[in-house]
Structures are given as C-alpha cells and as structure tokens.
Symmetry: none
Subunit: 414 residues, 2 copies
C-alpha cells in the first residue's frame, strides 16, 4: 500500500508553525511497513486542497489529510473532500450528540459554528476525537481511501494511534517493516558514549544504531528492517542487550519513557517518599515529577525558595551560611535538601540552587553553575555542574540531572 | 510571483527529522511578498523528484529544492534537475577549487565522492555555501527558475538569506508583502470567540483573520497583504484595535510573547510581588513564572502543597476545612491564596487546587475540575474551571489560566 499525507493550513505556508503532524504519521506508517513517497502541503483553500487530493489519488492508495476541520470559516477540508468523492455533507446524529455532550460537560453553550463539526460526507466513517470537538472521517473512492483528521497535534496523534493506524494496518498487506527503539541516556556526552560503544556501532548495519543529541540527554536509536514486527523486535532486543551490558546505569528509559516515570516506579516499588527544595529551577523539578500519574503516592511537597528569605523561612537554611558561602553554593544546596526532608518528614530530600541566567553571574560563579544535593537516612551527596548560558535549557537540564541523582540513589549507583 | 518548495530526503518520509527548512523559507518568502500555495516532500529518488518538479512547474514560477546535494550515492537532486532542464552535469572549475580549499583548510584528503559536489547542470548559476561543502545552484527553464540548496539546516539558512532571497526579490517585481501578527488569547473557546467576532471576521478580507487552536489557548492571526511592510503594519494595527475593543481582557500576548512575560512586565511596572501556592499543577505555575529572566524581582516563593498535610503545614489551610469541603474546593483554593500571600509577605497570593487526572475523579468532582484563587489587599476572587481528562494538558491549561487571573487583576479586569 502507498500512502500520502496532505497537510492543510495557511499557517504552514506562511511558516508560522512547524508540520509536526506529518512527521508523526510518517513514523507510524514506516513502523507498519506502509510506503510513503510523497507529502504535500497546501493552504485553507477548497480548489487547492482538491488539486492536492487529485494528484495524490493518481499515485497513492491511502490519502491522509491533516487540518482544516475547525468550526470557523477558514476551515474547508470537508468541502473539498465532499466535492472530490461527490457526496453531500450531512449531519451525523451520533457525532452531534457527542459534540453536545462535550459542551455540556464543559458547561459551555454550544455555538451554531460547532454544529458544522458534526457534518460529514454522506457514507463517511467517523473517527472519534477524544481530545477535542472535531471528529475525523474516512471516505472511499474507487477502492482508495481519503482520511481527514484535525490539525491540532495532540488531537491528531490520538486519532492516528487509536483509529487511523489500526484501520490502515488491517488493509495494508505485507511490506517490509521498519521498527525503531530508543534508549534514553543521561549524564554522559555523545562523544564519550560513541567511544565506549564504537565497536558495537561499527558492526551494526541491520539493526543500525544512531545517536540523537536532544534536550533530555543523548538517545541511542536502534532501527531494524525485517519481514514482520516480531522479527524486527528480536533483532533490536539483541543489539539492545549488547549496549546495556556496557552502559546500563546511564539508560533511564526506553522510547517515550521519561526519567520521572522511571523514578516514580522505583519510589513506588521501594515505598519511599520525597520532597524537593529548588531555587534556580523555580518549581520545574516538582512539576516534572508530578507529570507522572499517581505521583501523590511518593511526592509530598515542594519548596520553591526563590528569595533568600524563602530559603531561611521555609527550609531553615542558616542566614549566616547564605551570607558566608552565597545562596549558590554546595553548602546551601545540602541544607536545602536536608531542610526539605526534615520539614516534609519524607524519606528523601532534594535541594537545588544555581544561576539560571542570563543575569546574575560573576567570574567566580558564572551563569550555568548549579549545585544539586540529595539527603536521605543512609546517604548525603552534592554535585556541582557547569551548564550553559541559556536560562530555559539550564532549568531543564538541572531538573533532569536532579531527578537522575534521585534515580541513581534508588538503583544504588554511587 | 508564485513560489513552491520541494523538500527532498527519505529521512523526511520516514519521519526521522522535522522539515524546518521549508518552514524557514516559507517565512522568508512571505516577508518579501512572494506567494506560496504548495509545498511538496519526496525521497531521494530521481523519478519522484522529477515528478514533483514537473507538478510544480505547471503551477509555480520559482521552485526551490532543499536536500539531496550531499556527496553520497543516495543524493540525486542534481541528476533530476539536469534531466528536467535538459542540461548535462559538468565540472565547475571555480567551485572545484573552492572545494579543494575547504578540504585543505580542514587538513582532510578530498575523496572522489566529494568531487561530485562541483558538478552542476550546464549554465547553472552557482550559490555559495559558506557553511559546508555542497554549493547550491539555480537553473532556468521557460522563464521559470529551479533553485537547489543543501538540506543541512544551517547551510540552507545561510544560502537562503545571503543568496536566494536577494535573487528572488530582484525578480519578484511589485510583489506584495505579506505580514502577520498573532494575538494570543486564553479563557474562551474558539467557537465562542468566533461568535463574538463574527462580523469582524466576515468583513476582513485583507487583512484577513484566522483562528489557531493550540496548546496555549486560541490565537488569532491577522494577515495583511500590502505594497510594503509599513502599510501592512498599519492595516494590521487597525484590525487589531477592532478586535481588542471586544476582547481586550482575553488577549495576553502578541506574536511570540508569553503570558508570563506579559505578567512579569506588569508586576515590575507596578512594583508588586507574588507568591504561588499550587496543588494539582505541582510547581508548574512557579516554574512558568520563573521562565522569565528577572523574575526574582517579583516572584518570592512557591508552595507546592501536594499532600493535605503540606497544605495545612505550609499554608495554614484549616484541617477542618479540608475535611468538610475537600482539598479540591473553592474554599481551600482561597485559603491557599491567602496563606501564600501571608506566609511570603507578598502583595499577591495565588492558590490552585484541582484534579489533574487520570485518577482521583468522582461524579461530583470529576477529573479536570480546578479552582484558581487570587488574594490581594484590594481583591479576593476564585474561579471554577472544568477542563479535560488529560493530565499534562490540565496542568498546562491550569497554569495558563492562573497566570491569566493574575494578569487580569493587574490590568483591572474584574
């Protein structure tokens, strides 16, 4: 089967947004072995959308449109499809009821505009949108399919995962499958990792290995091409084992697993509780930890002690210590970790202080200097990091490194 | 002049990389008033690249190819262009010399493969690549142009800025300029906004209006087409004023301005300080506020009171109140805001409690129920919201809505 993606939206042509939807769907199609030879992008214009669909119908079997299903006047994807397949737009009673329910739950009056979102080309199969008001749909024409999904990324992804990919998979027949697995590491540079894994890298053709430097450490992507998913998985697992034998302690997660999920599992398994005291990260560590559902089982509280007074009043950091060593110091980080643990009565306390930038740096204590400390019954440690000059990146990296210190403590890495 | 972009690379079709080049060029073309109605993406395959170019030649005047100019066997953009324009690839002596110099400077032996990068269709104009080894080129056919640039983003951008855009600008003639401005709103649904602004929307052709539903509320994009940037700006400002007259309180920022920046400016201008008490957002509000450089001037501290004990101990929320009304209640939100303000000694306190999900909901208090409260000397208020079922989205929206409550207080919206 040959698929084709058409991304719709004038904002894409003006370069106002990045087309992340077509990237996401491309990955998913590759995973199920569906070929994709072309993608197109056009604006919110019925004639141009029709032109793009006609080009795609000439060369592809399954066409996926993304965008242009909103309730406002500039959204016209449905009209284009309706004209192409020669079917009128008619009200779908069940979609209309669901739409009404959404508005009832939200306690908002449904506007006339929204009713448009319950109209579909006659005979179309409706695709449920769990995250928004615009359902998608699939039409058939001459043995080919045209699917239309909304452009809002988190709506699009849910519908791709839950409905579109299963639908296509059923009809795709056998092609070669491309499957990837990503091992997420933190705490070592790409070049150092590459040195340690050099021989494995060099003799890995299929499955192949690639390093991806990202915002959350270095990821190692393993990609296998095989007759089916099972075979690909087996090939990947074999290479994964070889890599893990060398760097197990650095790998905090697989694929989309986040470091906070991995730490959450460890805390639950051990029945331990935590409290976080943070200065330069401004609440980001607590927020990251509470991104995981069920985190209330182990996360008790966070102290965002931005001012010195807050450090003194909330965590009992001695004022004298701050005056002598400075708020950004090893000693204050440790006192913050101790204070968090003590005030909250938790098993573990984490304390973080640093200079996020862009201002506030000195020759001795430059922007990017960060201290991360951990306090527990059987362990107390503090580490110094010298990160970069970018405020948001410093906050993000500090948060990752702090959660990784927690992870290392929990798995017994010194 | 109508331009068209063709992005080339199998990695784009596999979803391994995001197409940032075409976004960048789209922005640049809009800025100089060149229309872009279509973009295409295809893989490293001569026949498919030719097909894409032929489609583009039918409807566009200036075609820009990105990618497929590397030294390896899978790069075949040049061959495709050479066949389309009917010109042989010949060695360009001056490009060859420059290539040799690059390798000399780097102290690397030049491989035979690299020599390919000095071949171009006969008669092509060479575009210098200051950041890499692959020069670009421009060919003409039947009064139209085909330009090819390498796919590495920082090479592509340099060549777009230094060579391609000046070249196109010279030939675009009296092209009109397209300029956009985005008004960012929060707190009202797209359909409700559309109702309130319906008449303005309907009589806005140039400048035009569009709604963009995103993760941070609904954005309203105003786009003007004019003779020059100044005129476009004027047209945009006029429409912006009409929109603001209706929904001023909902607009928190313009273009890339974030709500935390806008609130930060207001707090600094008024010399007010804040403290945040949060439960379901787990520190995200404090973290968001401290994303802005200089936020230590007004942000004193945050209380991440995840457990009930934390609410009682850190904020003096009466235990009885939590038992009677529940931790997620209007009353507790207000007590949290008061507690934050009092404990920190700040001018303003914000308190947030809710059920982020996916667990913890009941029929009476479903997932997504959130209370946001603000306490100041001259004002105390609390609002109830019913958001969706997605944990991270609930955290994000709650944070936005809380910061917006702060903003509305600061600008005097009741």
């Amino acid at each position: 089967m040959i698929a084709e993606i058409i991304s719709i939206g004038t904002e894409l042509l003006l370069g106002q947004i990045l087309d992340t939807n077509s990237q996401y769907l491309s990955q998913k199609l590759a995973e199920i072995g569906v070929n994709l030879y072309f993608k197109q992008t056009t604006g919110d214009n019925v004639e141009r959308i029709k032109e793009a669909i006609n080009i795609a119908l000439d060369r592809s079997d399954f066409i996926v449109l993304s965008g242009g299903l909103g309730p406002t006047g500039d959204d016209c994807t449905k009209n284009a499809v309706s004209q192409i397949v020669g079917k009128k737009l008619i009200l779908n009673e069940s979609a209309f009821q669901k739409l009404k329910e959404i508005f009832d739950v939200r306690g908002i009056k449904m506007s006339e505009n929204n009713k448009i979102q319950a109209y579909f080309p006659e005979g179309a199969m409706i695709i449920e949108n769990k995250n928004g008001t615009a359902p998608g749909f699939i039409c058939s024409i001459k043995g080919k399919h045209i699917a239309a999904l909304p452009g809002v990324p988190f709506e699009f992804k849910q519908m791709v995962d839950d409905s579109l990919i299963p639908f296509i998979k059923e009809r795709a027949g056998g092609g070669k499958v491309i499957k990837s697995r990503v091992l997420r590491t933190i705490g070592m540079s790409e070049s150092r990792l590459a040195e340690i894994l050099e021989d494995i890298f060099n003799d890995s053709v299929n499955p192949s290995m690639a390093y991806l430097a990202g915002n959350s450490g270095i990821a190692i992507r393993i990609t296998a091409k095989a007759e089916d998913i099972d075979e690909a998985e087996k090939m990947i697992s074999h290479l994964e084992r070889r890599i893990r034998d060398r760097i197990e302690g650095l790998i905090y997660g697989v694929d989309d697993e986040t470091i906070e999920e991995s730490v959450g599992k460890l805390l639950r398994a051990k029945g331990l509780s935590i409290a976080i005291a943070e200065s330069c990260t401004g609440g980001l560590i607590s927020s990251t930890i509470t991104n995981t559902a069920g985190s209330s089982l182990y996360f008790d509280r966070g102290f965002v002690t931005y001012s010195n007074n807050a450090k003194i009043e909330m965590l009992s950091v001695p004022e004298k210590l701050i005056n002598e060593k400075g708020a950004v110091s090893e000693e204050v980080a440790i006192e913050m970790a101790r204070g968090a643990r003590k005030k909250a009565g938790t098993d573990i306390g984490v304390g973080v202080t640093g200079i996020a930038g862009p201002g506030g740096g000195t020759a001795e204590k430059p922007v990017g200097l960060v201290y991360i400390a951990l306090s527990a019954k059987d362990c107390e440690k503090v580490k110094e990091y010298r990160l970069g000059k970018l405020r948001l990146r410093n906050k993000h990296l500090t948060s990752l490194l702090a959660i990784n210190m927690l992870r290392q403590y929990l798995i017994g890495v010194k």
